[in-house]
């Protein structure tokens, strides 16, 4: 459910791929949404951003700690934080697994800006942009 209010919060992007982080950050900024980035789950969980962002856009496949593991931690540490999972791999049941794991939205890479904004909007209940 997307309400009437326009999303004005901050977004965190966690992805081990620097190009992706930079590109997504640039895309959010182009519509004047504030972005913080982290290159791994543990780094995000340890950062103040965990409690200071309104939406987390999280890559599933990362070395060390996977996005799903990060999601579990987020559910514990910041249960209200809406999380949009991204995956670059083909996985038929990805959507089910993402929802089952507690994600508010999911994206298959590559995705367009409108798919990204729609997912964030869906996750937060506010309009993007």
């Amino acid at each position: 459910m997307v309400g009437e209010t326009r999303f004005s919060g901050r977004v965190a992007v966690v992805d081990d791929d620097a190009s992706v982080r930079r590109a997504l950050a640039r895309l959010f900024r182009s519509i004047d949404i504030e972005v913080v980035t982290q290159d791994s789950g543990p780094a995000f969980l340890a950062s103040p951003a965990l409690h200071d962002v309104d939406c987390l856009v999280l890559d599933v496949h990362m070395p060390g700690m996977s996005g799903l593991e990060v999601l579990d931690e987020v559910k514990v540490a910041a249960s209200k934080l809406p999380v949009v999972l991204m995956t670059g791999r083909f996985q038929a049941d990805f959507a089910e697994r993402a929802i089952a794991a507690g994600a508010s939205g999911f994206l298959r890479k590559p995705f367009t800006d409108s798919e990204l904004f729609a997912a964030v909007a869906e996750a937060t209940g506010e309009q993007v942009p």
Partner: protein, 627 residues
């Protein structure tokens, strides 16, 4: 009584007997007047003391002298025949008969001369003819029996006596016919009589198989011949020859049995065997050869090769024929059509045969039908390619996630940057600097995606094994690049030790060898990723070994649990729950197809190592201490 109307003087002076009186020194004292007509010399010449020396043929002179002087001395008289030369040069035979008489205390020889030339010539001819027959009989290698035209035995040689086991005395005057067995006797008689009647015919060799019967009743196979000997009295004699074939039969039988043995051997060989002579005619073919062309063996033997195998097949083998007939053995693999017209692959060997003078008198040709082997080879190659393809696909399956990831990462960035750039430019106050940065990132991420795709394409390619010059160091670096994201994902460091002093140029198929190293490096990554602690490491190094290079893929994982390191190369043997267990099998198959080898070993102190050895390209081969 009427006086006898006979004048003895007239008789003495005109008869065919020439009377003479001679002293003991052989000088004529008187000779009948007909002597002048007999030899053509005037009467006074006859009285010369050296007369006989002049007219008697040299060879007979001694004999004449001995007879006269000996006869006179002993008083027994003279009887001698000798040759004299007439005044016209013609030689004639004289017979001289005399007796010793005494007159006035001197010894004289009173006697007659008469011409015996005609009788003498006949005697000599007869003697010569008999001598010839005797010589033929004596020297003949065969048994000889001389008969008259009537078939009655006149003479036989020693060989005949030993062959028939009769003495001449036993059968002289009997018909020859009983010497052959009764069943052949009528036929023999028929032949013999036909030959005797056909006076134009000088000799005959009886072509049919004959036999003689020995005294004991034993039959001996013989070849019979007949020749005509002209007799002086007008009656021909016939010389019958009997050649004992026992020995020849034995040799023939041996030859036949040895040929039969050769044929038997040749027939059980799984090959087509033939002997071709200098005129390119089949002299010997085994059953397989005849069957191949759908001929009967005896139809092929003696025929020209060209006629049997056809022009096009002949054209194909002709160079090898020429070489073989020039003394060079050749081996050819080719394709020929069999009797049914089906194409078969054959290995053909042509081996020249030398006679005792070292001249080529033909060649043996041995042809193996290798159709099934060739098909198996093709199938094997196909199978190997299939296997490699399956492995690639399987690996791709395993890698699918990371491949998609690998590709989707840059694509995501491209899309995001492009759309960010548009939005940045669409603003009321466009942020051109940031838009440019976004577009630069688009370009670089697009390149990254392209690189991923081209690496994938190499892997996906399916084709025959190619032979191209490859630098293994570069190939391995590409592989490491390919697994980079997976390695990062699993926290494994993959490192390539530069091959500074080691040649790494090989010939091979890039896609297949990439497959090999991809398998090995991925195995290493997977093994080490199960380690609880860091560092997890896979190292690739290069070692020169003789004319080869060894690529060592070493990890610091738990090593191979099993002692059966060879077993690792069996299909479906795996240490991983999700693996197919085909990786090492395929790696070895491919490596061996490249003339190389793969061995697995445990590293002392922990870890596993796979050593891939591949032959260097020729130009990179160089002597090394252990090579």
């Amino acid at each position: 009584m009427t006086p006898l109307a006979f004048d003895p003087t007239d008789f003495l002076e005109s008869g065919p007997l020439v009377p003479f009186v001679m002293d003991t020194k052989e000088t004529l004292l008187w000779v009948g007047p007909q002597a002048v007509d007999l030899l053509g010399y005037p009467a006074e010449r006859w009285m010369d003391p050296g007369f006989w020396d002049e007219i008697v043929v040299d060879d007979d002179l001694g004999q004449v002298r001995d007879a006269r002087r000996g006869g006179a001395a002993s008083g027994t008289g003279v009887s001698v025949e000798y040759r004299v030369r007439k005044a016209d040069g013609v030689v004639l035979w004289l017979a001289e008969v005399g007796r010793v008489a005494s007159a006035d205390g001197q010894l004289r020889i009173h006697g007659y001369l008469y011409d015996v030339t005609e009788r003498k010539l006949r005697e000599v001819a007869l003697w010569k003819s008999e001598e010839r027959i005797r010589s033929v009989l004596r020297n003949a290698p065969d048994a000889m029996v001389l008969t008259g035209a009537d078939g009655r035995v006149q003479n036989m040689n020693a060989r005949a006596e030993s062959l028939f086991q009769y003495q001449l005395a036993d059968i002289a005057g009997s018909l020859i016919d009983p010497l052959v067995p009764e069943r052949l006797r009528a036929r023999f008689r028929e032949l013999r009589e036909a030959f005797a009647d056909d006076s134009e015919r000088r000799s005959l060799v009886v072509g049919e198989a004959f036999a003689i019967e020995q005294r004991e009743g034993v039959e001996v196979p013989v070849e019979i011949g007949m020749s005509r000997v002209a007799g002086l009295d007008g009656e021909d004699q016939i010389l019958n020859s009997f050649r004992d074939l026992t020995a020849r039969r034995r040799v023939e039988a041996q030859l036949r049995s040895s040929e039969r043995r050769v044929r038997q051997i040749a027939n059980v060989l799984p090959a087509m065997v033939c002997f071709v002579d200098g005129e390119e005619r089949f002299r010997f073919v085994n059953d397989a050869y005849a069957e191949w062309y759908g001929w009967q063996r005896h139809q092929m033997e003696g025929r020209r090769v060209r006629e049997v195998i056809g022009e096009s097949a002949y054209a194909e083998v002709e160079p090898a024929f020429r070489a073989a007939l020039a003394g060079t053995a050749t081996h050819v693999r080719g394709e020929v059509a069999d009797a049914a017209g089906a194409t078969r692959s054959v290995d053909m060997s042509f081996v020249p045969q030398f006679d005792e003078k070292d001249a080529v008198d033909g060649f043996f040709s041995v042809v193996f039908d290798v159709t099934s082997e060739v098909r198996a080879e093709q199938a094997d190659r196909l199978h190997r390619e299939e296997l490699a393809h399956v492995a690639r696909v399987a690996t791709l399956g395993e890698l699918a996630a990371s491949i998609a990831h690998e590709l989707n990462q840059p694509l995501s960035a491209v899309v995001a940057n492009a759309q960010a750039a548009r939005r940045l430019l669409d603003r009321d106050s466009p942020d051109i600097g940031e838009a440019r940065a976004a577009l630069e990132d688009v370009a670089s991420d697009a390149r990254r995606a392209g690189d991923v795709i081209s690496s994938m394409r190499q892997l996906l390619q399916r084709g025959e094994t190619r032979q191209e010059a490859l630098d293994l160091q570069r190939l391995v670096s590409d592989v490491v690049e390919l697994v980079h994201s997976e390695a990062v994902l699993r926290g494994v460091e993959v490192r390539v030790s530069p091959a500074e002093d080691v040649a790494t140029e090989v010939q091979g198929d890039a896609a297949q060898l990439t497959q090999v190293f991809l398998n090995l490096v991925k195995n290493g990554i997977e093994s080490t990723s199960r380690l609880p602690t860091v560092p997890r490491r896979v190292t690739v190094g290069f070692v020169a070994v003789g004319g080869s290079v060894e690529v060592h893929v070493t990890d610091n994982g738990p090593g191979f649990g099993s002692d059966d390191l060879e077993g690792l190369f069996q299909p479906f043997v795996t240490g991983r729950p999700d693996g197919l267990g085909m990786g090492l099998t395929i790696s070895r198959t491919i490596t061996e197809a490249h003339g190389g080898s793969v061995v697995a070993e445990n590293v002392p102190g922990g870890g596993a190592r796979l050593r891939v050895r591949l032959p260097l390209s020729d130009r990179d081969r160089r002597p090394t201490p252990d090579g």
